[in-house]
């Protein structure tokens, strides 16, 4: 069974790799095969994957098409059916063929505004989470790997962990709000506010994984075999860290989008006039009962985006974590004698 094969590789694969050095593509092929398998076994993961793909492509188009068209054609072509900030006399129109999601109280096309907001929200989600992953993950790696007491590394790791504890001790949204409010309304200040408060959890996550991995027999075997510490860190420890961090990253992109839109909802995020989902919910909330399509469309945009990343990340966890993967496959595939033997062999 493929799953069992992947599982055995993961547990004992590193010693085998140093001795036999099998080629990298086979690892990828096995990962892809497992990936496709779980996509088929779990339709929700598949939906999430497709949605993430569509959202990302649309966001790219919204940014690239006006740029490319202005260079090639000399005038900008918008992806959105209307200019997102153009006012018109069609106030409060319900959804129709000409206005897919209707118009708001100022006659602006709601669909155009939602699509126009996509690149900003998505870039903030990917960017801030990526920064937190690099900074927090790096600090966690250092804090977990060199934590011998009474050494320079130990002292550094204690300092890192104490600072992390301070940041983890209070809700990041409150600090982000305080920073954003102090810096004044704007996209930059609210991004900076989230950036400053987002990295600590990655320190804990990375450190925990390093601590779990670094005393594994294969790490000791590598050290006994004369592999340098830096090489052990990058080839043997970091590789095991990549999976949980990747899963958390995927789930976290949605959380960052929600946090950013919350700051905008409260009125200290993006400036007035910039299409952003959170500030759209804020300005349309009083129309929930009269022009429901305005506030519900903006809300649905955040909902679908976050849901897509959650479904995808959740499924990714099932794919990457051999224990839950085994349980999932056992539940999804009728238990045959072969499956039982494979599961027993894996355990």
């Amino acid at each position: 069974m493929d799953e069992a094969a992947v599982g055995t590789r993961r547990t004992s694969g590193d010693e085998a790799r140093t001795i036999q050095s099998p080629s990298e593509p086979s690892l990828w092929r096995e990962f892809l095969r497992g990936f496709l398998r779980v996509l088929r076994a779990n339709p929700l993961t598949f939906i999430g994957f497709i949605l993430v793909l569509i959202i990302s492509v649309v966001a790219l188009l919204v940014v690239l098409v006006p740029l490319v068209s202005s260079v090639i054609l000399g005038h900008t072509v918008l992806v959105t059916p209307y200019d997102p900030n153009a006012l018109s006399t069609d106030y409060g129109q319900p959804p129709s063929a000409s206005h897919l999601l209707g118009t708001d109280n100022l006659g602006q096309d709601v669909f155009s505004r939602i699509v126009a907001a996509l690149p900003l929200d998505l870039a903030i989600g990917f960017g801030i989470t990526g920064f937190a992953l690099l900074v927090g993950g790096g600090l966690g790696l250092v804090a977990g790997y060199w934590d011998e007491p009474r050494t320079l590394g130990g002292a550094v790791s204690v300092i890192i962990l104490r600072i992390t504890d301070v940041f983890l001790a209070f809700p990041s949204l409150v600090l982000a709000l305080a920073i954003a409010a102090s810096l004044g309304r704007g996209t930059g200040p609210s991004m900076l506010a989230i950036l400053l408060t987002w990295w600590p959890y990655y320190v804990r996550l990375a450190r925990g994984e390093v601590l779990a991995v670094k005393h594994q027999p294969y790490v000791m075997a590598a050290r006994a075999g004369g592999v340098s510490e830096v090489r052990i860190l990058f080839r043997h420890v970091l590789r095991n860290l990549a999976e949980p961090l990747l899963v958390y990253y995927t789930l976290d992109v949605g959380t960052v989008i929600v946090t950013f839109s919350t700051i905008s909802f409260i009125g200290i995020g993006v400036p007035l006039g910039v299409p952003e989902w959170g500030s759209m919910v804020e300005s349309y909330e009083r129309f929930l009962l009269t022009l429901p399509w305005t506030v519900l469309s903006a809300g649905a945009a955040i909902f679908v985006t976050v849901l897509a990343f959650s479904l995808f990340g959740d499924g990714l966890r099932d794919i990457l974590d051999p224990r839950s993967r085994r349980a999932l496959v056992q539940a999804a595939v009728p238990s045959t004698l072969a499956a039982k033997v494979a599961a027993a062999a894996e355990a």
Partner: protein
């Protein structure tokens, strides 16, 4: 491996000692961010029509002309002596507002934790037991919906859409300002202590929507953790043994498997204190619930720095203590854990 109670007391003592550097760090971070970023808060505090003289008097009154480090030491020494400062515009002491706002938030958070536990854990068990089948997909869609709904969106829909339709109150904690004494500042508890049943019923009605909004958004955490840890426990031998003994499915799932799976869920619930407190900032603001979240919102947007720092200190204490409670509970439930 033996454990005794003195180890537990030392463990708790050590953890409480760690609160000191954490709070110091929290105060330093919040103080410098707020004071460095806002150059002239007196222009805001003294009002839009203040003259130069009034602004200068305000700067003198709040000591804004002295160096930032001097201001910090002055604030820190007054903080230690129990003077947490006042709101610069209303002159109300920070601590007196916090002492009435904190119980209100505690009540809201406890109510939503109750909803989360009662709904979330069974949903997680159902999802894990039918992993990969329709029940699992349904439960996962449900909890991911809660996860994916931004706090403010859920609260706005409940406050503006659902509340008026169901006839539930959406503002504050009582329909009319209560005339009875309020020893605890928790609406339901105070009404019950005064044996005022109509007021207690009114308070419960006011609690339903904000508590549901807070619970719905975090239901996913309880459900997801229960599902994940049940998935780890269900394939184990003792569950098979329980099934082979012919125990009913309910006993197998809830008495044998869940008891072992709950350890993780309880720990994670303790760690959600921070998430819940973040949620209160938005939810209390929308439902005008007179708690810490609403106070935090007003303090942050009104440049009430001392109020902001006060709220952040209290939030930090709550997060550290609830993490400690989670750790202690974890140790009590799992005898293999050593106190250290």
């Amino acid at each position: 491996m033996t454990r005794n109670n003195s180890d537990l007391i030392i463990f708790i003592g050590k953890r409480l000692l760690q609160l000191v550097p954490v709070i110091l760090g929290v105060v330093v971070i919040t103080f410098f961010f707020t004071h460095v970023a806002v150059q002239n808060p007196c222009a805001i505090w003294a009002g839009p029509h203040a003259t130069q003289d009034q602004i200068a008097a305000c700067r003198l009154k709040f000591g804004l002309d002295s160096p930032l480090t001097d201001q910090f030491w002055a604030y820190l020494s007054s903080l230690v002596t129990g003077d947490w400062g006042t709101n610069p515009t209303t002159e109300i002491p920070v601590l007196s507002t916090i002492s009435t706002a904190f119980p209100a938030t505690l009540e809201l958070v406890l109510a939503s934790l109750a909803i989360m536990t009662v709904l979330g854990i069974p949903l997680g068990v159902i999802a894990a037991n039918g992993a990969g089948r329709w029940a699992d997909h349904f439960v996962r869609t449900f909890y991911l919906s809660g996860w994916a709904t931004p706090t403010y969106l859920g609260a706005v829909i409940l406050a503006i859409g659902v509340g008026p339709v169901l006839g539930l109150p959406t503002k504050g904690d009582f329909s009319s300002t209560p005339t009875f004494p309020r020893p605890t500042h928790m609406s339901v508890v105070d009404a019950l202590l005064n044996l005022n049943l109509p007021a207690a019923g009114d308070a419960v009605l006011h609690l339903i929507l904000p508590a549901s909004a807070l619970a719905f958004l975090n239901l996913g955490i309880a459900t997801r953790m229960t599902r994940t840890s049940m998935l780890e426990v269900l394939p184990l031998d003792f569950v098979k043994t329980a099934r082979m003994k012919g125990l009913s499915e309910f006993r197998v799932l809830y008495k044998h498997a869940l008891r072992n799976a709950l350890i993780t869920t309880i720990t994670i619930l303790g760690l959600t204190a921070g998430v819940l407190l973040s949620g209160t900032v938005v939810i209390e603001n929308i439902f005008q619930w007179p708690g810490m979240g609403e106070y935090a919102f007003g303090a942050i947007t009104g440049y009430n720095f001392k109020g902001t720092i006060g709220v952040v200190i209290i939030f930090a204490i709550v997060v550290v203590i609830s993490n400690l409670i989670a750790d202690v509970l974890y140790g009590l439930l799992d005898p293999r854990v050593e106190w250290r």
